[in-house]
């Protein structure tokens, strides 16, 4: 069997990463998990957080995802992300501004639908900000 994981990260707009790596750590809906080659088949949700892609003993990519799904097969790992940014590319000032805006939206939200959406947005932006700080 292959000794690497074929990792693919796609967002609705484009294909971000497609390459073979040693290990991928994913923030699953039920907690973080690492994917090594020959992992059991798995489908999981993803909560907002950072995907760490390990190559050798170092981290090759740190990617922030705002939610999505992951499908793991013995030889590959496919992430369908709602939105994905390289952690290094996060613009903190911009995120902070968006977060303030989202909080305003939540305050003025009239329907349940708007409120839910604003809450989701805040959770996502908060996690994004945290990711940028941790970097």
């Amino acid at each position: 069997m292959a000794d690497k994981v074929n990792f693919e990260l796609v967002s609705p707009e484009r294909l971000l990463v497609s390459d073979a790596f040693d290990m991928v750590v994913i923030p699953g809906g039920d907690g973080e998990f690492g994917v090594l080659p020959d992992h059991a088949p798995l489908i999981s949700t993803i909560r907002p957080g950072i995907i760490d892609v390990h190559e050798g003993s170092s981290i090759a990519h740190r990617i922030f995802v705002g939610g999505g799904f992951v499908e793991v097969l013995p030889d590959r790992c496919t992430v369908l992300a709602e939105d994905a940014v390289m952690v290094a590319d996060i613009d903190r000032a911009l995120v902070e501004e968006d977060l303030r805006e989202a909080e305003l939206t939540l305050r003025d939200a009239e329907s349940d639908h708007d409120r839910r959406r604003a809450e989701g947005n805040i959770a996502r932006l908060g996690a994004m900000l945290e990711a940028a700080r941790a970097n």
Partner: protein
Amino acid sequence: MANLKALRIRINSVRSTRKITSAMKMVAAAKLRRAQESAEAARPYAERMARMMGSLASAFAGREDAPQLLAGNGKDQVHLLVVVTSDRGLCGSFNVGVVRAARVRIAELRDQGKEVKILCLGRKGRDMLRRDYGSMIVDTVLGLDKRLSYQMAADVGVKISELFEAGEFDVCSVVYNRFQSVMTQVVSWQSLIPAMADDDGAEAPDLGGAVYIFEPDEFEILDSLLPQNMGVQVYRSLLESQASEHAARMTAMDNASRNAGDMIDRLNTLYNRTRQAAITTEITEIVSGAEAL
């Protein structure tokens, strides 16, 4: 005999029309390239989403407790048709084709005694359907062709899901122009609810007897995957439709420019003949006048 001044004005007006159509053609060509690129960039996601849906659907195969978005609610009394058109015209038979297909379908469904509701994405479809089926249009979404983003499509998906959950309809399908090549766009139907694994790449991978682990569990995954899938399907049809629109406009404007060119040629010939005839008449008059002296 047409008079010379009128002809000159006419030639000029056709010339400026040709300028406009050929400019529109070039704009459409540039936009087409961009639309085609984004349609291609979106393809990997849609394909993998379809694969994952396939895996999940096979896990639910034959089970009674499958979510309604996946398996439908068991009825097909009320149909929702999502009609994807453009906001702007001057693109040949692009919108007419979609609307015609929708009309045929509406008539069919009505003959079977079903109820039909319409959701229009794009102004042209609404304008054309409003006259005959105004009362059936539940909603219209405009402005999708400017800077189309996934978020906009996802919002439409959410709207459809909400209508479904409110029991507004039982079955939902989309009609849109699928982009085949610059010359051909095919009007296509796709089923949204139930989310049947009917097309490309939806085959479940061979696990060699192993079973998927679902985290947290298959219901929760489906709960968030199905609306997401809806958004993706809508996004894909919008992208396809957009690429088709620009292609159709490009072809239409190319034809229009060529027609204008032909017309200018014809008018020019006519203009020159008329001018020559006038000169000949004048000379004849002078000559016969001189001879009479």
